[in-house]
């Protein structure tokens, strides 16, 4: 088409200006793309790491357990429930956990700790604890325990020692277990290392008279960022006294920081886009002034207003495409080397907090359709609007004035 040709050549009539404008578009596209891909790439690993240390993706628990956890608020017949759950699509692991607050004693020393009963064969599929054992082994007998490193130091406990854990059973009477420490774990998270003990679920359930019950039925799913899909499938299996919670409800601080991060970054990207679009609009207004007489000539030789506007828009779109291409090229150059190796937390000085904040070791940029399209589309819309604004003047001007402009 001739008009595309004219538009294209018009762009190169002022090469410097076109390149600067396209450069501004490319700059914004690059920055937004880099920012968004690292953001998008950090959320899922963050959720994955934190869910594997704590809540899991979804949990079935007694309706009141979350607000006020008590021993007698349990879910029963969990072995059967687990096998039903595993038959459902999209579910890759289910682990039953019993929880009780207990006093952990070694000789004369005692500390409070959260005692979690897990099935040693099953729980590693839903949590990272088995990988975090730095001394000894992850459960070697039905009467063993693994214990946080700081707690072990404070209690002066080493692998092989027997500890006594006092707690209260379902009836409120004192119960105790005396496992031997088979392993000591170190997660890097101070709270866990200082106050967590894991024992086989059979051991603590016997002591607390919980039979086959559990306080948390932890479910790991294939699509952790879309827990509502799995929730729909699981809901029919949830006992009437229990409720199904996803990680966003179980760890509100994580989902809130993700939302807060999205909002604040959205504001940053929005402002950046507005600034870029405004400076482009400014350029367009200048261009349109210079082209007043050209506009008059085109009208005089019989071109419709509509077609002339079509030509302006074509120029804008070509310039936009050029800018987006520059942006894509640069962001591809920046992201391609990182997409497989990621950025290590250590290079950002964050490794020391990885455990504290449940951060993954490395963040990999994630590029999805939204990341690719958001900046180009919003800038494109802004550019088309700018073209309209800038050309209004031409349509208001009389043809005679347009032809005489600066003659």
């Amino acid at each position: 088409m001739l008009s595309v040709k004219v538009a294209w050549r018009n762009l190169w009539r002022n090469r410097r200006r076109t390149l600067l404008t396209a450069g501004a578009v490319g700059f914004a596209v690059l920055l937004v793309q880099l920012g968004m891909s690292f953001q998008a790439g950090s959320y899922e690993p963050m959720v994955e790491v934190s869910t594997r240390f704590a809540s899991g993706h979804l949990q079935i628990q007694h309706v009141d357990y979350k607000d006020d956890p008590r021993t007698e608020r349990f879910v029963s017949n969990t072995t059967e429930l687990r096998s039903h759950l595993l038959d459902l699509p999209g579910i890759n692991a289910v682990s039953n956990r019993t929880e009780s607050f207990g006093l952990v004693n070694k000789d004369e020393r005692s500390y409070g700790a959260l005692v979690v009963g897990v099935d040693p064969q099953i729980d590693p599929s839903a949590s990272h604890f088995s990988d975090q054992v730095t001394q000894g082994t992850y459960f070697d007998s039905p009467n063993s325990a693994i214990i946080g490193s700081a707690l072990a130091r404070n209690l002066r406990v080493s692998v092989g020692d027997e500890i006594v854990i006092l707690s209260t059973d379902v009836d409120g009477s004192v119960a105790f277990i005396a496992p031997s420490v088979s392993g000591i774990f170190e997660t890097g998270n101070d709270a866990l290392d200082r106050s967590l003990v894991q024992v086989p679920r059979s051991l603590i359930n016997d002591a607390l008279m919980l039979e086959d019950s559990a306080h948390r039925v932890v479910i790991m799913i294939d699509q952790p960022m879309l827990p509502e899909q799995s929730s729909e499938v699981i809901t029919p299996l949830v006992p009437s006294t229990a409720s199904l919670l996803d990680w966003r409800e179980l760890m509100p601080e994580i989902s809130q920081s993700i939302r807060l991060d999205k909002i604040s970054n959205g504001i940053v990207y929005g402002t950046l886009t507005v600034i870029v679009v405004l400076s482009i609009a400014n350029t367009f207004v200048m261009t349109m002034f210079e082209r007043t007489r050209e506009f008059g000539t085109l009208r005089a030789v019989g071109m419709h207003n509509r077609s002339i506007f079509g030509m302006f828009i074509t120029e804008t779109i070509l310039m936009w495409m050029l800018g987006v291409a520059i942006g894509y090229l640069l962001s591809t150059c920046a992201l391609l080397p990182l997409i497989n190796i990621g950025i290590g937390m250590d290079s950002m000085g964050m490794d020391q907090f990885a455990g504290l904040l449940f951060l993954p070791d490395r963040i990999y940029p994630a590029v999805d359709l939204k990341v690719v399209l958001v900046a180009p589309i919003s800038i494109g819309v802004g550019m088309v609007l700018s073209t309209m604004l800038a050309s209004i003047r031409l349509y208001r001007l009389s043809l005679v004035d347009a032809l005489r402009y600066r003659e």
């Binding site: 007489r293 000539t297 005089a300 019989g302 419709h304 005679v400 003659e407």
Partner: protein, 229 residues
């Protein structure tokens, strides 16, 4: 059906309002017949350009009627005026006003493309017209690479390529020397004679006037005299 291509009936054109109002045209009536070569002459500011703009539908009169081919231009919409200019008229400007990014041939083709004519025919016709204005060799050069006289001939070619009924030229020789002006005028005259294209030129160049079949003399927005050649 009259023989008139253009009729002006007591046309006035006032620019601005109140104290600063300028009466560019003060009630002029005139006819231009098919096949005429008319020069509108007069000092600058006499209303020549205004008259041409009104006839070309680029501007509309404050009062009076402009009739082109028996149709009152005031009844036309903007797009209809565009189409009228596209199919029935050709314009040549003082400052050439070529599209700088297109070659001479493409500048000429542009009009044909607006008319919706296919590529092959466009190319053939554009080259024919350029040949007829003596620019066959320069067809692929851009305006910036052409001399003033050549540019103006491209502009004439652009104005002619659509086979217009009326060719309007506003001071076409203002930026040309006398030799090129003469060449241009001879070109216009031959077109006028060969194709019967009506030609309307605003000028104050006596060289140009010599080629006309009739001159209309304007002064202060009024017709002073009409002189058949």
């Amino acid at each position: 059906m009259t023989n008139d291509v253009v009729q002006l009936r007591s046309v006035t054109r006032v620019y601005g309002q109140g104290n600063v109002a300028v009466n560019a045209l003060q009630g002029i009536s005139a006819e231009i017949n098919k096949g005429e070569f008319v020069c509108v002459v007069g000092p600058s500011g006499c209303g020549k350009s205004t008259m041409l703009h009104l006839i070309g539908g680029l501007d509309s009169p404050t009062s009076g009627t402009v009739i082109v081919e028996d149709q009152d231009l005031s009844t036309f919409t903007n797009n209809e005026l565009s189409d009228l200019r596209l199919r029935r008229m050709g314009f040549v400007f003082q400052a050439f006003n070529l599209i700088p990014v297109l070659s001479a041939c493409e500048n000429v083709e542009f009009v044909l493309q607006l008319q919706g004519i296919g590529k092959n025919e466009r190319d053939t016709r554009a080259r024919e017209v350029l040949d007829s204005v003596g620019l066959a060799d320069a067809a692929d050069r851009r305006p910036g690479e052409l001399s003033g006289g050549q540019q103006q001939r491209v502009a004439v070619a652009r104005a002619l390529v659509g086979n217009p009924l009326l060719l309007i030229a506003d001071e076409p020789s203002a930026n040309l020397d006398s030799t090129t002006t003469r060449e241009l005028c001879e070109l216009l005259q031959s077109i006028n004679r060969k194709h019967g294209t009506t030609i309307l030129i605003a000028t104050h160049d006596s060289l140009v006037m010599n080629y006309s079949t009739r001159t209309i003399q304007l002064e202060d927005g009024k017709i002073q005299q009409e002189n058949p050649a």
